[in-house]
Amino acid sequence: MDDKIREELLKYIGELKSLYSERSMLVMPTLRFAQEKFGRVDDNLIEEISRFLDIPAIKILSTARFYHFFTEEDSAKYRIEICTSISCSLLGSEHLYDYINRKFVDEEIKNNFSVTRVGCLGSCGTAPAMLVNGVLFENLNFERVDRVIEGLKSGKDIDKILG
């Protein structure tokens, strides 16, 4: 564990402490901070968080492993999460899921992208929907999916890809 990570974690926890009245309330926010900042929540990070919050590591671990959001390993550079719940599925999100998967013959996509099926994203009125690294894309069709993927490949800002 390098000192820089330790420092950032301590700083974050320090800032939050006054806001929350119990230490255990800091577990979820801190895990999230770690995941977003370092791209994973591995055992080393859990030990550090445990020390800083003075909560047994096993408790932090069981929380971290319960939630999809926290990953043990580094995740892909571009995480595509496509909603396959009912409203999106009624409007063809399964086609999009297959369509994106078919693109995985492209070396660049194979190495840098992951695609997963996820539950409802709260965008059912603008279905089909997907997230790319947490950024929401709605009203999807093949053409818009192509534009998103091409945009990512050319290194565009995710927020700005579809204008």
Binding site: M28, Y67, S85, G119
Partner: protein, 432 residues
């Protein structure tokens, strides 16, 4: 037609404090704070506001369960919106977060809480950013904090973000999550109002419920009640999705007719197809067929047709929809989201998902249909939280109402419906 929650959503920057104040924001909280807490609760009871999180529990009555003791009390706003088909709370937080904060002030005051939480679903980025900004604006102007609106009342509001677990929308799982634990629902009783967050009295309410509270004090309970039905006060945000021409969010009187919502407000069925079935209150409510859609959308009338108002998420299916496939999509979700602590749910949800998959891909036998029903019926009522029921209810209703389609899949060894095409270009979408 009266609009409460969506009143100024067309305004630019409707999420900022200036717009809110221009529309009389925080005036209702001032009124409420001039009353005694019990008087606030009485007013909410008279308005017959019922919880918008799914169960329709009377809000004033829930608040009155909080005893006047010396323990810390908490208000928790459930913003973990995740039920497939539902997209209202996200928009409330994005478009009028101050309405929610004002409602939180009134609710917290009524239950004597000095700390309140908003538990926001982890995936909601914009909603989080806007809630955060709104809380900062409210702090800066002394609307919350050590002296709420210049009174002696203190209130701290903090945000907790979820991390991708649907089950945390269940109120006791949500409490566990705030406490830094895995989101596994607790056994009840005790109910949160008696022993909730850190074993202290806690009220959990949905975003829409709390955001409606200020309007009770703006209009008065009687007027608020008159916006809805005699047993269900106020307006309701209906989330219309699926095969309609104008999907979107519609704020309408509680009790609006379902057919009217689908055919008038949402423009009818796409490609001028025919209506086949509707999940009227989100993915966990029993399905109703096209013939049953002439029904008023309020908590009691929906019970009358054997379904539920749920979260007010109206999922519309046209006659090209394969019901086996639709059920498969519903069950994939619940199988994935079971928290795993009750055997019937942990084992049963993936099991009924697999059976449905077999029927869809043509490897099932006729007896599988009864097995599907049997497993679903044995999940019902045998679990700690209602997630198990949420998977079983639509299953039982879909199989019973569309059994011929299930049999036909088995007879023809697979799905005989054309794959539904991708979303068509729509006439327009309504977010108000």
């Amino acid at each position: 037609m009266v609009r409460i929650l969506t009143k100024y959503w067309d305004e630019k920057d409707s999420h900022r404090i200036d717009v809110e104040l221009r529309y009389g924001g925080y005036e209702s909280a001032k009124k409420a704070l001039s009353l005694e807490p019990y008087e606030v609760i009485e007013e909410v009871k008279r308005a017959k506001l019922r919880g918008r999180g799914g169960a329709g529990f009377p809000t004033g009555q829930k608040w009155s369960f909080i005893k006047n003791d010396n323990k810390p009390h908490y208000l928790v706003v459930n913003a973990d919106e995740g039920e497939p088909g539902t997209f209202k709370d996200r928009y409330i937080m994005e478009r009028s977060p101050h309405m929610l904060i004002e409602g939180m002030i009134i609710a917290s005051y009524a239950i004597r809480a000095e700390m309140a939480f908003v538990y926001i679903r982890g995936e909601f980025q914009k909603a989080y950013e806007r809630m955060k900004l709104a809380l900062e604006e409210a702090m800066d102007r002394g609307l919350i904090g050590d002296s709420v609106l210049g009174s002696k009342y203190k209130l701290k509001i903090v945000i907790i973000r979820g991390a991708g677990a649907y089950i945390c929308g269940e109120e006791t799982a949500l409490i566990e999550s705030i406490e830094g634990k895995p989101g596994r629902p607790r056994l009840r009783p005790p109910f949160p109002a008696v022993s909730g967050l850190y074993s202290n009295p806690t009220i959990v309410n949905n975003v829409e419920t709390i955001a409606l509270v200020p309007s009770i004090f703006e209009f008065g309970a009687e007027k608020f009640l008159s916006f809805g039905t005699p047993t269900d006060g106020g307006t309701k945000l209906f989330c219309v999705s699926g095969h309609v021409k104008r999907p979107g969010l519609y704020e309408l009187p509680m009790g609006t007719n379902l057919k009217e919502i689908i055919f008038e407000h949402a423009g009818g069925i796409i490609s001028d197809g025919r209506l086949k079935a509707v999940l009227p209150g989100g993915s966990s409510t029993p399905i109703i067929s096209a013939e049953e859609c002439d029904v008023n959308m309020d908590f009691d009338c929906m019970k009358g047709v054997g379904s539920m108002l749920g979260s007010g998420a109206i999922i519309v299916m046209d006659d090209r929809t394969c019901m086996v496939k639709a059920l498969k999509s519903l069950l994939e979700f619940y199988a994935e989201e079971s928290c795993g602590q009750c055997t019937p749910c942990r084992e049963g949800c993936p099991w009924i998902y697999k059976i449905t998959k077999r029927i869809e891909n043509g490897t099932a036998e006729f007896k599988d249909i009864d097995l599907l029903l049997d497993v679903a019926e044995n999940i019902m009522g045998n679990t700690i939280c209602p997630l198990g029921d949420a998977a079983a209810l639509p299953t039982i209703s879909i199989v019973n109402k569309f059994r011929d389609e299930f049999e036909e899949h088995i007879r023809r060894k697979g799905c005989y419906f054309d794959n539904l095409p991708l979303a068509p270009v729509l006439e327009g979408r309504s977010m108000v």
